[in-house]
Amino acid sequence: MCGTCGCGTDGNGPIILKPGEHKHMHSHNEHHHHDGHSHSHHDHSHEHKHKVLEIEQDILQNNQVLAARNRGYFEAKNIFALNLVSSPGSGKTSLLERTLADLKDEIPFYVIEGDQQTLNDANRIDALDIPVIQINTGKGCHLESDMVYDAVKKLEMQNDSILMIENVGNLVCPSMFDLGESKRVVIISTTEGEDKPIKYPDMFHTSDICIINKIDLLPYVNIDVNKLKNYALQVNPNLQFFEVSATTGDGMEAWYKWLKSKKQKAKSLKPHIKFKR
């Protein structure tokens, strides 16, 4: 983070890269600081008047405005956008790899990868010949809508496709930041505690879909999946579940069916408006 104002540039701000691109050690964005010289004060005396501004402004407004802009772009191009969130290590990237490998001949996919550092995840997706952009958030713990906006511009997506946005692995911070996605998907694995939904309720509250991954490990781990689901439903009674193993492929069909139905639905929703004079 920038030591002067804490604004996160100087190499620690978000860096948006395609696989193969180099990371520049300094940001291209110009970043001005007040360099200590104060504004010259007038010699003549005048009264400083206190003024109260009742602004009532939502703090997340900037993020929400750009998220709405992203959402409008996705709708216009009939792109179904998913925001994948989870704690680190629950298998977001593995789930993504399996899904892309199995469905890429049927559905055009695009991927945005969010991590604090490295191009590793983007390289894994790139190996499947799927267009991908990596966002490195530096010290940032979540993606924000302006980063997605910039990444989307680089992706040059075609119409009628699916965009997968893999958020930074973190079950807390990304919950507050709308990226403009069509649906939010929270992934939890069977190696995590069944009470995670009530320990980290905000993420489950704001998600539409809950994927329970690593079900192939169920014989070896001490978790009650029904209890996990009940906790999740307590937080968000509208959650829809998929139980899968990205490693063995178990349960993936139901998830694929849902993905395909969403893509088709998005297509049929496209308005055929005729203007009458």
Binding site: H48, E54, I55, E56, I59, L60
Partner: protein
């Protein structure tokens, strides 16, 4: 630590609003934060000093108005206080509810000079 992003968002709002009225700095800022908003007040206080450094908020007094959570059951219409986002209806135990209050995250007012 998304509180840093939130604090920087507050600084941006304060900078913009202060510039609009040609004021020099903010002497007091009033924030409204709901208990269900997902913000830890302690974490916000922790990052505040570094977030406001060299901004119009550097010397501002910060007042946080905490908004308690309140929900309304969709099944039986009971209104009830909420401490957690997963609290169920005390009357019928339903998890289906609308959140009436407690999600606020706002800059309510600025006193500028």
């Amino acid at each position: 630590m998304h509180e840093l992003s939130i604090a920087l968002g507050i600084v941006k709002i304060a900078e913009d609003e202060t510039a609009k009225v040609n004021a020099e700095k903010v002497t007091k800022i009033e924030l409204e934060i709901g208990v269900l908003s997902g913000i830890e007040i302690d974490s916000l206080n922790f990052v505040w000093k570094s977030a406001v450094q060299d901004s119009v908020l550097e010397k501002a007094e910060k007042e946080i108005i905490i908004i308690e959570g309140r929900g309304k059951c969709i099944d039986c219409d009971t209104e009830f206080d909420m401490e957690n986002i997963y609290d169920c209806c005390p009357n019928c135990n339903s998890n289906f509810k609308g959140i009436l209050k407690g999600k606020e995250l706002k800059v309510k007012a600025l006193e500028v000079i």
